[in-house]
Amino acid sequence: MTDVNLYDIIRGPLLKFALFVFFAGISYRFFRVLLLGLPEDYAKPKGNPLTKALEKLALKPTQGWRFFMEVFAHRGIQYVGGFLFHIGFLGLTFFVPQHSFLWKEILGFELPYMPQLVADILAYSALLSLIALTVHRVFNPVLKLLTGKDEYFANILIGTIIFTGLLASRWSGGGLYVWALNLHMLSAVILIAYIPFSRLSHFVYYFLSVFFYGWNVGKRGVSF
């Protein structure tokens, strides 16, 4: 099989299959949890639960900074690394120039894309952050206890995607280009299909978990 044949398979049926698994899996997981139901709460709320739930959905990720001295001081690497990684990975997925044609195919229109220099900076910072976060997971006793195969596999997979993306767009010339691109696309396809089975699906549960958190904050009449 030539590199171009493989490219066609990955871009064609494999990507379609992965996207199907992703959407079906994520929808199943979201609705399965949603349909479990809730008991009625008859206690009169002290504040406004719905307002707080919506407020927290927008603000919760930033509120860890309020515990700066005790949490940030011990886990700065997670805050800074986590922020850079998320910004980088999401920014690259949706707004990197090389992906614009892909989104046009999927969505029917082209997404705005960032200058190549910004994309490069995001890619390097996301990759370095991911490495730092993984090393931190290995050595920090708390993270070591909490981390399973799922986290390491996901980190390696995402690292491969970013690294091969950089390789394809920046470093490899000539015949190696398609192989680097194939590896990049293949790891991305595996990731897309893997998300519903892993903790990477946390972006779906963020909306449920933080909604309940905010609701309880409003019910109890506290601000935070």
């Binding site: 949603l34 349909l35 809730l38 949490v71 978990s209 958190y213």
Partner: protein, 436 residues
């Protein structure tokens, strides 16, 4: 069948199955969302007073991480509610629960978690770990694995009406004593608008709090009473997470209050008492529980705001505040004690940048009665003491007798010289000085 909670030494397959089934049946949308949302970041550890206390001593115990405390529950959830989990179980890779594993759960859920809710505030996903720990506690209780001291106190509460064994004759004699000693009128079993229910810790260990509350109520000029039927505010059903015990103890309060035509219950300086009556009772008795519930500090603040109570005298120089988690962070009474203290103290120094950040006493959730948890409680106190030291204050106002007990105990055991003072005592002092 007599209502009791059990402390079993031996763990057999039956206990394991009971634990497992309780966890499985406790899952709903909210619980599943929390279980699924955890990204294993472990930031919650840095907010947990038990983990912090160990850290201050130069040690790291990763098992004290709140996320870890819900891990067995998470595993049980996964193999019953997720596709991958079900497949794993089918292939024989399901959750294996040994007796050691269950014993570890007792340590994690009962000895090293006060369900203070601080970890929730730090969690980027807003996971309510106390909610998850409460399920683990409930499952352990159902399996008969309640820590010995806690089981004893809970059963005494069921049998005699109070965890400290305060039955009706003892209650009446304590009320008589307090009335005489502090020269304050305390109406008993009268038809009234307000029902004040003390906790037995106050009655037996901090009687001045009861006298002070009586003085405040008399001064505010409201129609109030105490009740022989509803004479105990604490609810050990919440500590053990036994629905049956919670219901039984609340039923006594409901019946006592209904008999006297009560409109508002005044919960004492007791965290779980407020939590149980304000947020749990309406769900246990959705039709019958139609009374308003105010914590005594909320009541005082309301009276001050309405001009029915004035606190013109400052009765203490420099003081800080300890917030009981179940009244403060989980109960929403955070502004009121601060506003009151500003009127009572020359120099009120808050020990935290924002009220929800305050640290638990280390003895909440029943931890103070469990002697097996003494080591962890003392370690946790180190985190608390750091706050007092940073504020440079030795006097600490409290609005929970259980917190006062735990803080005083730990402070004494560790040779510290902080003074823990009831907030209502300060209010009463101010009223008396004004009258004087």
């Amino acid at each position: 069948m007599t209502l009791r909670v059990e402390h079993k030494e031996e763990i057999t397959q039956r206990e394991v199955e009971t634990f497992y089934n309780f966890c499985k049946s406790s899952v709903n949308t909210e619980v599943a969302s929390y279980l699924e949302a955890c990204v294993r970041c472990g930031l919650c550890a840095e907010a947990c007073l038990f983990y912090m206390g160990e850290n201050i001593s130069g040690k790291i115990d990763p098992t004290l991480t709140p996320a870890y405390k819900a891990d067995l529950l998470r595993d049980i959830y996964k193999e019953n509610y997720t596709l991958l989990g079900r497949v794993k179980k089918l292939l024989g890779f399901g959750v294996k629960i040994t007796s050691e594993k269950l014993r570890e759960q007792v340590k994690l859920a009962f000895y090293t978690c006060t369900m203070c809710d601080r970890c929730t505030k730090v969690c980027p996903m807003g996971i309510d770990t106390p909610r998850l720990v409460s399920i683990v506690r409930g499952a352990l209780t159902q399996a008969g694995l309640v820590p010995e001291d806690l089981a004893e106190a809970t059963n005494t509460a069921i049998e005699k009406g109070s965890p400290l064994g305060v039955d009706v004759p003892t209650f009446l004699s304590r009320i008589d004593f307090i009335s005489d000693e502090w020269e304050v009128e305390i109406p008993v079993d009268r038809k009234a608008d307000y029902l004040y229910i003390p906790s037995s810790i106050e009655l037996m260990k901090y009687p001045s709090s009861v006298a002070s509350t009586a003085k405040v109520l008399n001064k505010a000029g409201v129609s109030w009473t105490v009740s022989t039927k509803a004479h105990e505010a604490t609810n050990f059903g919440l500590f053990t997470q036994s629905r049956e015990v919670t219901r039984e103890l609340l039923r006594r309060i409901l019946e006592g209050a209904k008999e006297l035509g009560i409109k508002t219950i005044i919960a004492p300086e007791c965290g779980h008492a407020y939590q149980s009556m304000r947020f749990v009772a309406p769900n246990v008795f959705p039709r019958e529980w139609d009374m308003e519930v105010l914590n005594v500090v909320e009541f005082i603040y309301k009276m001050v705001k309405e001009g029915r109570l004035t606190l013109p005298k400052r009765v203490i120089d420099k003081i800080t505040l300890h917030d009981p988690c179940q009244i403060g962070r989980r109960g929403g009474v955070l502004k009121e004690p601060r506003e009151i203290l500003k009127l009572l103290a020359q120099d009120f120094k808050d020990s935290v940048e924002f009220p929800e950040k305050n640290i638990c006493c280390g003895g909440g959730g029943g931890v103070v009665v469990e002697h097996e948890a003494d080591y962890h409680r003392q370690k946790a106190f180190l985190a608390k003491a750091e706050l007092f030291d940073k504020a440079g204050v030795k006097d600490v106002a409290c609005y929970c007798a259980n917190c006062m007990l735990a803080l005083s105990k730990s402070s004494q055991e560790l040779g510290r010289d902080y003074r823990f003072i009831s907030l209502v005592d300060l209010v009463a002092e101010s009223i008396e000085e004004e009258e004087g």
